[in-house]
Assembly symmetry: D4
Homo-oligomer: 223 residues x 8
Amino acid sequence: MLIASRSKLLFIGDSITDCGRKRPVAEGLFDPLGNGYVAQVNALLNASYPDRPVRVVNTGCSGNTVRDLKARWQTDVLDLKPDWLSIMIGTNDVWRQFDMPLFPEVAVTPEEYEQTLDALAGTTKPLLKGLVLMTPFYLEPQPTDAMRARMDQYGRIVMAVAKKHGAIAVDTQAAFDRALKHQHSSNLSWDRVHPNSIGHMILARAFLDAVGFVWSPVRREKA
Amino acid sequence: MLIASRSKLLFIGDSITDCGRKRPVAEGLFDPLGNGYVAQVNALLNASYPDRPVRVVNTGCSGNTVRDLKARWQTDVLDLKPDWLSIMIGTNDVWRQFDMPLFPEVAVTPEEYEQTLDALAGTTKPLLKGLVLMTPFYLEPQPTDAMRARMDQYGRIVMAVAKKHGAIAVDTQAAFDRALKHQHSSNLSWDRVHPNSIGHMILARAFLDAVGFVWSPVRREKA
Amino acid sequence: MLIASRSKLLFIGDSITDCGRKRPVAEGLFDPLGNGYVAQVNALLNASYPDRPVRVVNTGCSGNTVRDLKARWQTDVLDLKPDWLSIMIGTNDVWRQFDMPLFPEVAVTPEEYEQTLDALAGTTKPLLKGLVLMTPFYLEPQPTDAMRARMDQYGRIVMAVAKKHGAIAVDTQAAFDRALKHQHSSNLSWDRVHPNSIGHMILARAFLDAVGFVWSPVRREKA
Amino acid sequence: MLIASRSKLLFIGDSITDCGRKRPVAEGLFDPLGNGYVAQVNALLNASYPDRPVRVVNTGCSGNTVRDLKARWQTDVLDLKPDWLSIMIGTNDVWRQFDMPLFPEVAVTPEEYEQTLDALAGTTKPLLKGLVLMTPFYLEPQPTDAMRARMDQYGRIVMAVAKKHGAIAVDTQAAFDRALKHQHSSNLSWDRVHPNSIGHMILARAFLDAVGFVWSPVRREKA
Amino acid sequence: MLIASRSKLLFIGDSITDCGRKRPVAEGLFDPLGNGYVAQVNALLNASYPDRPVRVVNTGCSGNTVRDLKARWQTDVLDLKPDWLSIMIGTNDVWRQFDMPLFPEVAVTPEEYEQTLDALAGTTKPLLKGLVLMTPFYLEPQPTDAMRARMDQYGRIVMAVAKKHGAIAVDTQAAFDRALKHQHSSNLSWDRVHPNSIGHMILARAFLDAVGFVWSPVRREKA
Amino acid sequence: MLIASRSKLLFIGDSITDCGRKRPVAEGLFDPLGNGYVAQVNALLNASYPDRPVRVVNTGCSGNTVRDLKARWQTDVLDLKPDWLSIMIGTNDVWRQFDMPLFPEVAVTPEEYEQTLDALAGTTKPLLKGLVLMTPFYLEPQPTDAMRARMDQYGRIVMAVAKKHGAIAVDTQAAFDRALKHQHSSNLSWDRVHPNSIGHMILARAFLDAVGFVWSPVRREKA
Amino acid sequence: MLIASRSKLLFIGDSITDCGRKRPVAEGLFDPLGNGYVAQVNALLNASYPDRPVRVVNTGCSGNTVRDLKARWQTDVLDLKPDWLSIMIGTNDVWRQFDMPLFPEVAVTPEEYEQTLDALAGTTKPLLKGLVLMTPFYLEPQPTDAMRARMDQYGRIVMAVAKKHGAIAVDTQAAFDRALKHQHSSNLSWDRVHPNSIGHMILARAFLDAVGFVWSPVRREKA
Amino acid sequence: MLIASRSKLLFIGDSITDCGRKRPVAEGLFDPLGNGYVAQVNALLNASYPDRPVRVVNTGCSGNTVRDLKARWQTDVLDLKPDWLSIMIGTNDVWRQFDMPLFPEVAVTPEEYEQTLDALAGTTKPLLKGLVLMTPFYLEPQPTDAMRARMDQYGRIVMAVAKKHGAIAVDTQAAFDRALKHQHSSNLSWDRVHPNSIGHMILARAFLDAVGFVWSPVRREKA
């Protein structure tokens, strides 16, 4: 596994990362990480590797766009001095273009999105042992849906930024698309944006596979 | 307008009709009709025709399928002795096939849906001055979506049952499709099922147009 | 319709405008406009003209007099840069003269009322595409009632200010008086001040008729 | 004073009597009588005549008409074996004719009102040491108001029933009319039906004067 | 009656005056005066003299001693510019000597009590149309009780201060002692300090008698 | 100590025993015994004699008189099969004679009190390993107070019943009187009935001394 | 994986299984399975095998012993007709022997435990496609702890019953012991009984490994 | 007893001292001291020595380490000017090393613990009439448990600091160990850290024995 023992692994993002986490910074006793993929990653990492514990921290905030991340980057990322950082952002940047078409000031254009994400990744990467960029996603399988098409555009930006800075990229949309071949989106999400616990586990699996997680490390090491 | 002065007009259906109405029967003082299309119809009818008041009643129940309507038909329709009755049902009959694919017992097949609706309409129509059947709808514009295709099938059943029994049919899906030409579904609904207040007004307008509502009855009568 | 597509339409006033709206500024997702005439206007405008959306904003505050409007005019009107503005104020200016006769400091005299409203309308009108002044009203049909007589006096001030500044005037009292010919005031309001949903729709209709709203714009355009 | 020491004095009526009293029967410790005229009568009687205590009981119920009183007469009057009984009923009997004009089943006609009140008074009077009948009232000074005119009609029925059975009659409307000469109704009541604490004291005074209450009994006895 | 029409009458004191009044200053609509003697005085004054209304204000605060009154005298008395002022203080000054014998810093000695009350009365009296000083009281009839004896000492201070400054003195202890001849203290108070509604009416009567209140002013004027 | 290891010791009584205990029967985990003397006895017994644990049970009920105990004796005493039983009752039997003088039906006369307590003690004593009767008390030191005099009468009845049946008597009034020599009653109780935690410890000490409790059993056994 | 597509998999047990699940039967929409290992198993199974969905049901109840399971076996197991059943019980059977040593009636002896579990497993196994028996556990690593030793005894009973009936056995204690080699028990549980989310994932992993779960089924099938 | 009459005795510590005490400083009326050993000490001292009252104050704070005590020492100890001071701290200093092994910043090392406690005791002792240092404890009887071994190390530091400064030392661990010979730790504590009421009484007894408390001072003085 890529993440070393006793590392601090920070997740930042929007409501999909937040999931009811404790404030101001979620970490420590009494399962403060919320009930989404961050908590699942924490449980899977530490239950599978009891000899290599990882300190998981969550600073996701519901409703955030990349513009909001930038505004709180100092306090919610840099001040916490993570070893590893995972960013998943973009859903609201896109969604506001469709559910609030008369409020252009709250959406984020592709240009601003790319520029901001690039700057955050570029300045932070050198301070980290590892950076993970997860694409935003939309639980709508038909590529002709206008919002899905736009989300794919933002996903491609994430992949490009990751490549540019040598970050690990996680294509969450691809992970969901594999599941959507077998079931309707309403089986995974109420609103095609917020996954249920199964959908969150799809995210957790995508993240873990990207960082070299092994379900049975002992057996692997034996082999 | 088709509905005579001092008529009792009863709406029954699922959560889209319910909208937080008062229990057990919503009618009377303090705006008990919920915050959906039923309340809007009540306000528009009585504000536009102050000389021809209509008594609006709401017995919609969240989560109901046509099977649930049948089970409470005696107490929630017949015992209330309405002059006019409006039924809008079918969303959950279809939805459960997609968001709970492992629970076939909670969904309603097209056969059961048609048979039940037909029986309710057939036995009740003779007791009424007017019967309105509103189709269920899905705020998904792409006809290739599996759930939209299924919903259209149920909508066609409603239109056929209405024709068979001489009821007024309201094609709500068509009304929404006209709006969806100009905006994304997320501008009208959080989950493509429950409309916001604009979406509810599309329902109210479709109902009112079907019963001969005129925005300015006085001027019309003058003309 | 007079209000152009994608306009921002701001309503300000007292509790009749407020109706439980969200704070600090009510606009955007999740039906934040309260449950009164503002929400009804929003639903009717956007449901009837899906191709010409209007952004409706509500900054009404319960208990306000015109003196309170003046105090928050910068933040709650000017800073929001509306295209259209609707003002309905005066109920509390008058009411306090009758329900708190020993507290002259909380009521507003006709002189102060006229002077303040005139200044607000005069300085703001040039910044707008349209200004609507709605009279205050009292759901008491007998003109000999002391409070009704006083409210009529304030209504006449509104009409005169509107005329002076070329604003659209809405005589809400006349709209209610038409309904009160057919029913007792207690059928429209608990306290002769706060309308129920039918009374609010009377307000919404009066507003909409004044700005050229058409129930079926498509058919009209065809004709 | 007419009411003997250690008498049990029971008040029954609608919300004006209820005023948040404790359930099922309001009497005893911790001021359970509600915050209306019943509590004021209790305090005035027992504070003015500490040597002649009276046990005050309240079984008023919000929303009641005389039809409701009849339905609970056995448990809420007869079973409690009062020495004195005071009845004030009729507001809702009349009000429902005006605020719910489409619901004739919830209002009470003058005929039913008179017949029911007459029967209750006639059968109960022989079991009592004293019976007080208080008229219903409407805090609307203009006799041309339709609801005021109707309320006056019910008030006359109360006066006639009292006379027929030798009960003490309390003309509450006359008591309020004296106050309304000097102030607007909104200074005494939010909705012209439910008095504020000053209005309740007008009721308490009217009751007390009718039963021979003296503010300073000691001085009177000296004289 | 001594208090002129449209006077502002302010009550200040401890929990017996407070009684759950609204904050920061209790006056105006919706019965904000609490549920004690202040509310009773307000109701009796305004119901008995509808042609001579009085504006009653309550700034009592639970737990206060005369030291606390002094600390908030500017904001809670002087800034409010009353015409008449009533002060009832001293219960906590004494009580703390008995229920918190190890906390001498929270009690107030007779010397401090007299000096503070004298200063407040002396500087404020010239600004008023009338000043009423009500003694503190203890609902313990036996003069040998240590706390009753101490309370009597403070009551005598009040009487002396009133006399010195020409204020109206109200001997509340004497009023209660008359009632305690006929009943045990537990019939008037849970803890011998806080009266129930009957006990509060004893206070209200004592106050009203001191300011020349007449139960039936009309009849008196006729005579 | 008289109570053998692993005995079940049941306390029954009124609010002084209840003290917020858990329902229906208070015993077992999470300190369910309330916050009064019963909990203190439990903690002192089990902390002082860790090798001789006692199972303490509380079925006190606020407001109870001996008449209420009789009514629930089967379920709340006999069915629980205690080894030891402690009864402290009588406060409400007496109190109601003074705080509700017009409600003779809720008080209990000395005759009924004695007869009922005697019957309960007489029939239950043979089923027990030990019976403790605690007198009721009143935190009023002056024997001339009417309620104190009456409470002393009931206390004498308890002592006599205990003697008759060979039960252990606990004179709680005497225990409190010793403390009242040094402090005012308001230092031990808000209302002279319900003790604070210090007052409850006076009760606990009185009980424990009566059953042979020793603070330091180990040292005693050594000696 | 042993569990076939579209199987119904029911978990029953005590608070460790319950974890705040919905009542009366937890299954279906909105993540009703609680926040413990049952929810984790559900998420992992359905996220890893989207083409082979499993219907997971939870009827665990906090505080239950095997005696409680027996009492509700008909409604909470048999009536639900599961394909697969997992039982984890015994913690409370043992715990009550140590935290409530004076309440032998609430604990379950090894004899009763074995006999009851054996009967439930024996009669139910023939109705199932698969039965899983999970041992109880105690997060105390030292075998000399009295409660750990007792829990091991109950774990051995589970293993024996599983073997006798051909059920799949899951040794949860062994799974935890592996983790406890690397960390103190307080890192996994507040009270050595209820695991945190990491501890629950240890349970979920132990269950999943026992039923042939593969983290990456697709890749495996390719290989 | 060592503590003189009318002394102020302050307890400071962590959650075991806090126990839900009132904020900001717990002392005075209405049993504000929480429900732990501090309240028990208060009740036992004042109930046993009514002629020598002691003023007990509690400023314990849940979660505190010695580092937190240092930070609030001025406001929560020195400013309160106690005569006697009792400190019990260290549980969290140790616990965080085991339940949050990845958060070294929240634990306190033995070196920092000793240095801080020594400084607080050394500078404060001269200002006091008496200082009591209570060791932290862990309700785990096996000395080989890693956390118990660490806690014993901190306990030895407390004993050494007490000796150095002439403070009274209370070995709470020894007091608990005596009880744990006879029962499992789960009978005294849910989590081996927070005692139930019996465990708190073990603490109260240990404290009281150390300050010369006598259960029956009167009898002793007689002897």
